[in-house]
Amino acid sequence: MFNKSIKPLQKDLLKELGNIGAGNAATAFSTLISNRVELNVPEVELVGFENSLEFVGDEAVAAMYFRVNGSLPGNMLLMLPLETVDFILQSVGKNKTASWDDLDSYNQSMLMEIGNILCGAYISAISDFTQKKMVPTVPAFAIDMAGAIINIPLAQLGDMSEKALLIKTTFNRDGKDFSGNFLFIPEPSALTELMNHFGVVQ
């Protein structure tokens, strides 16, 4: 189970992990869409379940969800606002009229593959940095309210903890038409493993 709070040093380390993971993913993303993707400073919060939905908001998003197994187990979500989905479909898929509300199996596969590449980049960067094995599962896909989507990773944590450790890194392109976030939700055992590895007193 998570302690009551996380110490500043622990928070810094977790922010750095968010940076490393999302940084690698953003580089991959920039290449895919031929546009510069900028990262914001990661937010790290240990929140009670009762407040967790506020952390992600009520917005409709397209989400790709991965379970991460290995020494640093947890859950990974890539959440994209629907305008961003349209932008990706139109710029990567080259179909100028493609839209999230008319998603055929080809476009859905393309989105999932992009999610796979980005989350793979995120996870592998953290895995390389920590020298810990992390194995993501195949992605699951949904378009819905962010709060409802996060039910699944939180339910997965439910029996282990009363709180969720959320590492959120948002990104955007220069304009406002493109944004999204990576949300990594490590399990309590992953936090212990990490802090032990880096010699951070808990």
Binding site: F49, D144, N151, A155
Partner: protein, 160 residues
């Protein structure tokens, strides 16, 4: 202006008319409303998981599990003098389409089953429900007329 009481994930709240109860972001979770029509007192739980049996933590919100939520709602409502309890439920969606079929993906269906069984054991009638499917819901329960208003993305609001 009527007050709206927000019910967070794993919480239970009890109130009386005209205050409304609201919970957002019900995916696989269940919004369980229990009420007494005569006294116009009602409660809502935002249930995450079917059973507290496997919990590795000893302190948790009463609404977190179906079993603890049903027990807490009955106890709290009876303590306020409620006698004939009725229920309305919403939620329990399968949020992700996933061919692998890990257990956690089906938690919505397991939540629905658990809540229904527990209510049946306590002889509490489910007056109406909107469960399953694959869409997240936001719900508002009106303790004055016992309407449960349900919003989903991409379809019209409905009242059950």
């Amino acid at each position: 202006m009527t007050d709206v009481l927000k019910v967070g994930m794993s919480e239970v709240k009890i109130t009386s008319a005209p205050t409304m109860l609201k919970t957002t972001g019900l995916g696989s979770c269940i919004g369980l409303c229990m009420y007494d029509e005569k006294l116009k007192i009602g409660g809502m739980a935002h249930v995450m998981l079917p059973s507290s049996v496997n919990s590795k933590v000893s302190e948790f919100g009463a609404g977190k599990y179906a079993d603890t939520a049903v027990e807490f709602l009955i106890k709290s409502l009876k303590a306020k003098g409620c006698k004939k309890l009725k229920a309305k439920i919403a939620g329990g969606a399968q949020m992700f389409t996933f061919s692998g079929g890990s257990d956690i993906m089906k938690v919505g269906a397991r939540n629905v089953k658990a809540v229904k069984e527990l209510l049946a054991e306590q002889n509490i009638n489910i007056i109406s429900e909107d469960t399953g499917g694959n869409k997240g819901r936001t719900i508002v329960f009106d303790t004055d007329n016992f309407h449960l208003i349900i919003r989903t993305i991409g379809s019209d609001q409905k009242t059950i």
